[in-house]
């Protein structure tokens, strides 16, 4: 026998933000959050933060927008190089050209000398 389920999707104009499917898995997001929340809490109040259920949902959407923006900016660099394949260096260019993404400078700066690898 089927159980009645709440019509949460109906009033959200489409895919339910509550039950998903989400662009990124909530459990993984929560794991990443817990690591950062724990680090920031560090010394003092003796506790990693707890994370409300809505927080990973917000990040799932925010990361989607973030990845979209970063990808579009990287693609602009790809086009400037008259190429059709987005390379790591295009992503690095996008980060360097965007003040907002200053916090990513270390992530895109690699000690690897050779980045010719493509698949």
């Amino acid at each position: 026998m089927r159980q009645a389920r709440p019509y949460s999707g109906m009033f959200c104009g489409g895919v339910s933000a509550r039950t998903g499917p989400h662009a990124l898995p909530l459990a993984r997001i929560k794991k990443i959050m817990k690591r950062s929340a724990g680090e920031a809490a560090a010394a003092g109040d003796g506790g990693a933060r707890m994370i409300s259920g809505e927080a990973p949902v917000v990040f799932s959407k925010a990361c989607e927008l973030f990845i979209a923006e970063l990808t579009r900016r990287a693609w602009a660099a790809t086009l400037e190089g008259k190429r059709r394949t987005v390379h790591r260096e295009d992503v690095a260019d996008a980060v360097r050209n965007t003040d907002l993404f200053d916090f990513l400078v270390d992530v895109v700066t690699t000690h690897n000398v050779d980045d010719g690898a493509t698949d």
Partner: protein, 154 residues
């Protein structure tokens, strides 16, 4: 601004489980956002003829992971200062604003509001209290909207 400590965990974990030459394989790591999802989102915003190198995908995977960590660190600090134990959606929006990510903060505020509204509806529907549930769906009905415009309100 935010403390630099949030940067280290992404790089450290990458190098810990990749080969010495850093062959570009983030591998099946559960401390990063899944690359399949990341790749799919990237593909959706690029034109059909575009290709994405594996390294580029991995770099964006790391960037998005760092994005989560960076904002969460700020949100967590705010909670600590206000002596609150739980990071909620508002904290994330405030953290984004504090970090200069204003358009993300604005977009997420609206998204969060709609999410909370849907949570209320779902909770009410689940509730067996027998109370009548009032749901105004007029906003959702484009037919209603266009009718209004045609006939004029009276």
């Amino acid at each position: 601004m935010g403390s630099p400590q949030h940067v280290s965990h992404v790089r450290a974990s990458s190098s810990a489980s990749t080969d010495v030459d850093g062959g570009g394989l983030n591998g099946a790591q559960d401390n990063l956002l899944p690359i399949a999802n990341v790749g799919r989102i990237m593909k959706d915003v690029l034109p059909p003829q575009a290709k994405i190198s594996k390294h580029a995908k991995e770099t964006i995977q790391e960037c998005a992971t760092e994005f989560v960590g960076f904002v969460t660190g700020e949100a967590s600090e705010r909670c600590r200062q206000e002596r609150r134990k739980t990071i909620n959606g508002d904290d994330i929006c405030h953290a984004m604003r504090n970090l200069g990510l204003d358009h993300y903060a604005d977009a997420m505020r609206g998204y969060l509001r709609r999410y909370r509204e849907s949570e209320e509806v779902a909770a009410a529907l689940n509730n067996n209290s027998g109370r009548e549930i009032q749901i105004d769906v007029r906003d959702e009905l484009s037919i209603f909207r266009s009718n209004e415009q045609r006939q004029g309100r009276n």
